[in-house]
């Protein structure tokens, strides 16, 4: 039980997120209206993704310095659940875009999707997608672990420039970019008041811990799988 407290914490935080997220008071803003509540879900996907990718990056470095195969398993599990979070973040973002950025001024969804922040996010997800293609192309376990660890360091180096720095340099509709109405950065007090922060930060922790739980299940099942392969040889 003592080892599982964080799983329960994740569950409780997400229950809190869903209840307070739907029923709590939010600032009444034009265009956003009730969709501002997406902050507790869409934005949390991206925050969770960044945290999971950071963990993956750390374990790739650890693998390169120790050659311990377990670190490679951990790095790939965190990268895969991080990518899932990223894809979910993108998909939820498109839904949100379709009710906010697409207004009655003649924009189509297709034109709005050609947006620096969205293109940057897509590039970041594709780079991590290539990580799994790379992993799948090796039959030799050591070579796979080594090359994909090196690639993961590169992928992480591209992550923050493509989702944060480039959209800010060129301007974007997305909050947190110059040119958006909401100012810069995204999480300043104009965009989010205190009552929303009280739900947003627990939500980030809850979603991230959910990701960590799924990653830990992947790691454990992979270890069992490897054990079976080794015993059969």
């Amino acid at each position: 039980m003592q080892k599982h407290w964080w799983k329960i914490l994740s569950f409780l935080l997400l229950i809190y997120t869903f209840i307070a997220g739907f029923l709590g008071k939010v600032p009444e803003l034009n265009i956003l209206n009730e969709s501002i509540r997406n902050l507790y879900f869409h934005v949390c996907m991206w925050f969770g993704m960044m945290i999971l990718f950071i963990v993956s990056f750390i374990y790739s470095i650890k693998y390169l310095s120790s050659n311990n195969y377990k670190h490679d398993i951990t790095a790939s599990a965190f990268a895969s659940i991080g990518t899932v979070f990223g894809v979910l973040g993108y998909a939820t973002g498109v839904i949100w875009v379709s009710v906010t950025w697409v207004t009655d001024q003649g924009q189509s969804l297709a034109s709005v999707l050609k947006e620096p922040k969205l293109i940057g996010a897509m590039i970041a997800i594709l780079i991590y997608g290539a990580y799994f293609v790379l992993r799948g192309s090796f039959t030799d376990v050591d070579k796979r672990a080594r090359v994909s660890a090196v690639y993961n360091v590169f992928a992480f180096a591209m992550l923050f420039p493509s989702i944060w720095i480039i959209p800010r340099l060129v301007g974007s509709l997305h909050p947190g970019s110059p040119g958006s109405d909401s100012g810069n950065p995204a999480l300043d007090r104009n965009d989010m008041d205190g009552s929303m922060r009280a739900i947003f930060y627990p939500a980030v922790i809850g979603w991230t811990l959910l990701g960590v739980w799924i990653a830990s299940l992947k790691i454990r099942s992979k270890k069992i799988e490897d054990k079976i392969i080794l015993n059969n040889e």
Partner: protein
């Protein structure tokens, strides 16, 4: 008589939107809130959350069994 109707229709078409725009109040899901149906949304989402966590919990137990 017909002209009067046409004029009235025109007047409504012009003025009603301006009246709507003149409202300062931002439109929120007040109706959903007042008739209590927002609770149905919360219940649905919580059900999904419970289901997902139950599934993860069972998967966790299964893997634990395999580890032994």
């Amino acid at each position: 008589m017909n002209k009067v109707y046409k004029f009235l229709a025109l007047a409504i078409a012009i003025f009603v939107p301006t009246l709507l725009f003149a409202q300062d109040k931002v439109e929120m899901a007040d109706l959903l809130r007042s008739n209590g149906k927002i609770y149905a949304v919360v219940a649905v989402c919580l059900t999904i959350l419970f289901g997902l966590f139950l599934y993860l919990f069972m998967l966790d137990r299964k893997i634990k069994k395999l580890e032994k």
